[in-house]
């Protein structure tokens, strides 16, 4: 057997080598994503949801489940669920019902989680993802509102567990997909598309380190060409796209190996261990999953009026996919460029503001934002919102390339000065100070070219004798003599003319 890490890869190679002699497997994946909603207060209480407060300072009587308290639903949480539903073309249920899901852990002291079972707020809808073989539609089953649990700490409390209920009652939107996903790459594409969307429409901050966006993957395999779904395993709490991909790859390899050895898959919940890159059993079907849902008598049916839905619909921004298509049509960008620029609303807005200052040069703006800007932001670990070079200044810089005042190379030097905030971030002052203005004057350039030709008779002879390489060497020397300030295209043309005269 291969070592564990490359199990899946090995299985695929085996399949390749053995051709039709062995079973071909199809991977079937459905994802459940928990997106923490960006409300100020909790879903059923007025306690704050701010991250990182000292333990239990944001846990009020309702979150602690003290006797006699009643939950009151947060309008902001419902509004965000509706926003999501509208942005994926789903139906909004009215009435929508809250249910109790029985659950016995001290991180939810009521003994149940308030969730939704029948009639979730959001029903259906679709997400379009970009795959290697083109666009693919992933259907959504539903998205429902529920409360998050608190945190349990098992170390350092002399055999006891420490409970922090700050997170208990934080609103979650659980977004459930149909089993339409066929590979770990598609799962990642789906999760990323969803991640962009929830941030774009402002319902979730998407911070994966803080657990604001977590994925559970339901994974099964079946012989290719068959309809019946295989027994699935659920991998819980994947909090990065990389782990999502690796956990699925491992799990598929594990299931295929069991089946090819004549075994059967047990339905169970598994955990991904990133350190060992493997999934392992958390709990089996026998001892769980009978949550005995029933409508919560503490909460009345939620009515959502068409007027409210309409009002929320009017505040929805242009969605990422619509923007991508517009960028391709309006600025002649490739699908790739359009999707990179719409990875976040901030980046897309930055791009549009830049193009607004420099109409007709979408591709140039796109290149600089995806190249220099995004590279420097990454290097300095800052978000585009705090980019030291604003769209207007970037546009001014690019305008100087367009009007041939400076070369692209000089622009990069100026970009660095702008980034550091030098010379009051005035592009034209920096050009003057650093003497980066391009030589476009034919006369001045001609003098320089003549000097270089006179100083290098051997290379001139070589070129005329058929050695193409000599040309590049001459160009290099001219550019050096102009300190890189000559327009390369212009130098090229002039040199050619002179050599061939």
């Amino acid at each position: 057997m291969c070592n564990r890490q490359s199990e899946f890869v090995c299985y695929r190679e085996t399949q390749f080598i053995a051709g039709n002699q062995i079973m071909q497997w199809e991977i079937v994946i459905g994802l459940e994503v928990h997106a923490q909603l960006s409300t100020r207060s909790k879903i059923f209480s007025g306690a704050s949801t701010a991250y990182g407060a000292p333990p239990n300072t944001q846990a009020c009587v309702i979150d602690l489940a003290l006797p006699g308290v009643l939950p009151v639903l947060n309008k902001g949480a419902v509004e965000r669920a509706i926003r999501f539903g509208l942005s994926v073309g789903a139906a909004i249920n009215s009435p929508s019902i809250f249910a109790r899901k029985n659950y016995f852990y001290p991180d939810l002291p009521k003994g149940y989680q308030i969730s939704q079972y029948e009639l979730p707020v959001v029903q259906g809808g679709t997400i379009q993802i970009q795959t290697e073989s083109g666009e693919k539609i992933i259907r959504l089953t539903r998205a429902h509102l529920e409360e998050d649990a608190g945190k349990s700490l098992h170390e350092d409390f002399h055999g006891m567990s420490g409970i922090d209920l700050n997170r208990a009652g934080t609103p979650l939107l659980e977004i459930v997909s149909e089993p339409d996903i066929r590979s770990s790459a598609e799962a990642v594409a789906y999760a990323k598309t969803l991640h962009t969307l929830v941030r774009w429409i402002g319902i979730c901050d998407g911070n994966m380190q803080e657990g604001s966006f977590r994925c559970d993957a339901n994974v099964s395999v079946r012989p290719k060409g068959t309809e019946k779904l295989g027994t699935r395993c659920e991998i819980k709490n994947l909090n990065s796209f990389r782990f999502l991909e690796k956990a699925i790859d491992f799990e598929v390899g594990r299931q295929v190996e069991i089946l090819e050895d004549g075994g059967v898959i047990r339905q169970e919940t598994r955990l991904y261990d990133a350190n060992r890159d493997e999934t392992r059993t958390m709990r089996t079907k026998e001892d769980a999953n009978d949550y005995r849902y029933f409508p919560d008598p503490d909460l009345l049916p939620l009515e959502i009026s068409p007027a409210w839905i309409e009002q929320i619909g009017q505040t929805l921004p242009e969605l990422p996919r619509a923007r991508q298509q517009r960028y391709m049509a309006e600025f002649a960008l490739s699908q790739y460029d359009a999707s990179v620029l719409t990875a976040s609303r901030e980046t897309a807005d930055f791009f549009e503001a830049t193009v607004r200052h420099l109409p007709g040069h979408g591709k140039l703006c796109a290149n600089w934002i995806m190249g220099e800007i995004s590279g420097q932001l990454n290097k300095d670990g800052i978000e585009v919102g705090s980019c030291p070079i604003g769209p207007d200044r970037l546009a001014t810089l690019l305008a100087r390339i367009v009007d041939e005042t400076i070369s692209g190379k000089a622009a990069k030097t100026i970009f660095d000065s702008l980034w550091k905030g030098e010379s009051g971030q005035d592009v034209d002052i920096i050009i003057a100070e650093k003497g980066l203005k391009q030589i476009t004057d034919d006369g001045a350039l001609e003098t320089l070219v003549d000097q270089v030709l006179a100083a290098n008779p051997q290379q001139v002879a070589d070129y005329r004798g058929g050695k193409e390489k000599a040309f590049n060497s001459l160009i290099g020397q001219i550019m050096k003599a102009t300190q890189g300030k000559a327009n390369p295209a212009q130098v090229n043309a002039m040199l050619k003319r002179k050599l061939e005269a």
Binding site: S45, P55, Q58, L119, F157, G162
Partner: protein, 95 residues
């Protein structure tokens, strides 16, 4: 539907309620009585009645999304059996 004593034990188990044999049989009698009531009610033609999810025919009131609760940790923890470093301590739970 007929309930068995094993069903009662399973429900008790899921609900984390410890019951002995006698209690299980007593609960079976009581629960079966409730099932009998439900059966009688199911004989009524309710095909024109929309199912209700709540006993009252009113809808959920919504709260504005504002923080109204202040930190009262000290007060709440004053009645907790055991606390440390701001955490509530409970018997160890690990899956």
């Amino acid at each position: 539907m007929t309930l068995t004593v094993d069903d009662v034990k399973r429900i008790a188990d899921l609900a984390y309620i410890e019951i002995n044999e006698d209690e299980a049989h007593a609960a079976l009698t009581q629960l079966s009585g409730i099932f009998g009531l439900i059966e009688s009610m199911q004989a009524v033609d309710a095909s024109n009645v929309e199912p209700m999810s709540h006993a009252q025919s009113v809808t959920q009131r919504l709260r504005e999304d504002t923080v109204t609760e202040m930190d009262q940790r000290e007060l709440f923890q004053s009645i907790a059996p055991d606390v440390e470093a701001g955490l509530y301590l409970v018997p160890k739970v690990i899956e």
